[in-house]
């Protein structure tokens, strides 16, 4: 029997899909191992959100106004305390901006192994997992020493809809013991609008690391202009300052679902795929035949994007 504890993250009064995926995954694991599922929700407004976590057998609510919104120090301390008091066998944390602050430090404080970049968890005859490394280019199966571990789960590990069960059964308020906080939450900011709303575009030409330099963006822009499409990009291009943040597709950028998504020189790290995999038609051009982008694309061509771009531009312009 394996008891499971999941971390339910919430921001701005909403529980994230990543957290609901964990509930679905936990339910599945519990049905095969016969354990209980407990979901922890911590922070201001936690009580009001508990009824969205009905997929769990018990919802542990750590209501606290003192934490402000998410507080890496405070939330991690409370969650670590829960691991100590509830002694779960499997702890599921989303591999997100919030989960990244919680998982490693809680694992270290609890002296538990941590399996990161995790896609699936096994609990038959010892704990195991399947993980993605090197930007999704490699998959590994792992076994964990001991019978307890934390798993930091990638988005898409289960269905959020499956985990979205209303009507909290057993809600249990927990004592929130917060250390003296050296981190203070100040304010939350929504993204500013840009010149182009890439979430509303019918066709996106998305460029990645393969574009190599800022000067080469001109060629991609010419192709986009020929089609009447907007230019989007993966994170490395935005981080270099070559395109504005409003053009970023992926986990830390925007989620898009255009009619056509043409990915040029994008390898397809999990963080990028999260933001575009629901596009109606995905076409990928990459020089690496093993690029993970081909796993979600409908059409793919292995080759040099600098040969491809002018050829397609010319074909469209006639």
């Amino acid at each position: 029997m394996a008891n499971i504890l999941t971390y339910a993250e919430h921001l701005n009064g909403e529980i994230t899909d990543a957290s609901l995926e964990l509930i679905a995954l936990a339910r599945r694991l519990a049905s095969s191992t016969g354990g209980n599922v407990e979901a922890a929700i911590i922070g201001p407004g936690a009580s009001a959100l508990a009824d969205q976590l009905g997929g769990a057998d018990t919802i542990l609510v750590g209501e606290s106004d003192a934490l402000g919104e998410f507080n890496p120090q405070g939330h991690t301390a409370v969650f670590t305390g829960l691991i100590a008091s509830r002694q779960p066998d499997i702890i599921l944390v989303p591999y997100t901006s919030v989960g990244m602050d919680v998982a490693s430090v809680a694992a270290a404080a609890s002296n538990l192994p941590l399996v990161s970049y995790c896609l699936s968890v096994g609990a038959d005859g010892g704990l195991s997992g399947t993980c993605q490394l090197y930007g999704g280019k490699v998959e590994v199966d792992v076994e964990v020493d001991g019978d307890k571990a934390i798993f930091a789960m990638l988005s898409g590990c289960a269905s959020a809809d499956e985990g979205r069960v209303g009507g909290a059964g057993n809600v249990e308020p927990i004592e929130v013991s917060i250390p003296e906080l050296g981190i203070t939450f100040l304010s939350l900011s929504e993204p500013e609008g840009g010149d182009v709303d890439i979430t509303a575009e019918e066709v996106l030409i998305a460029i990645g690391r393969g574009i190599e330099s800022e000067d080469n963006i001109t060629e991609a822009q010419e192709l986009a202009d020929a089609i009447g499409a907007a230019l989007a990009a993966s994170r490395p291009i935005i981080d270099q300052g070559w395109l504005p943040k409003t053009r970023q597709v992926g986990k830390s950028g925007l989620s898009v679902k255009p009619k056509i998504y043409l990915a040029l020189g994008i390898s397809g790290a999990p963080e990028h795929l999260e933001g575009m995999r629901d596009s109606a038609t995905i076409i990928a051009v990459n020089s690496d035949p093993q690029a993970p982008i081909f796993g979600v694309a409908h059409y793919g061509w292995v080759g040099d994007l600098f040969d491809f771009m002018p050829e397609l531009t010319e074909r469209i312009e006639g």
Binding site: L11, P113, V140, E143, A152, I227
Partner: protein
Amino acid sequence: MKIAVLMRAVPDPVEELEIDGEDLDRDFLGFVLNEFDDHALEEAILLKEEVGGSVSAYAIGTADEVEQMLHTAIAKGADDARMLGKDLDALDAHAQAEAFSDALGGCDYDLVLSGVQASDELDGQVTMLVAAELGHLHMSVVVSVTPDGDGLKVTKEYWSGITADYRVSLPAVLGVQTAREAPRYVAVARIRQAQESGALESVDMGQPDPRGRIHITEMRLPDVGEGAEMIEGDEEVAAEKVYEILSSAGVV
């Protein structure tokens, strides 16, 4: 402000990877600086330029790439650098964190910056594990660090472009995703000067065992072509096929 930057060499993300048993075939694999660590270095140098102090760069390994990474850090503005002499390939995230923490211990840094993640961190994020080892405050996915009295104002990114500002006391360990400015370029001549400056120190340390308590039982390349209909032929064939797809979707 006394700042340390932790840098890691990772397989070049644009290279094709090959597998040898339960590990990558590393014989012909190119290694580059983890891009998030490059942003951490940039943020550290920006902070030093604003408030003064020092930046020390640390990296694990003995390969030429590691030495080059640290010389580049000096050329960009780090005051000194330490190369921790261990076999990086044999270290998991926990062992890397322990090596970094041992090297940082007793140096009283106000701030430790490193990349929010690296592509090979199977058993946890090195940066956050270092925070745990040192017992410092921690925050990841950081996109801005600016001075604020005797502490820092730190911006953390959540998702969909939502960010939050925090006030963070020192000492702290921050996992940087993006610096406020793109990492600066540095001329080769400056790197050569750095090589001759004597600011890089090699530190001989014992080799710790992997500490993550996770064992890889199988490593494989994912079946990536599963869903895609692959277009065979040269760029002319590919462009014609994509044109047909665009045309049948009614967008050209």
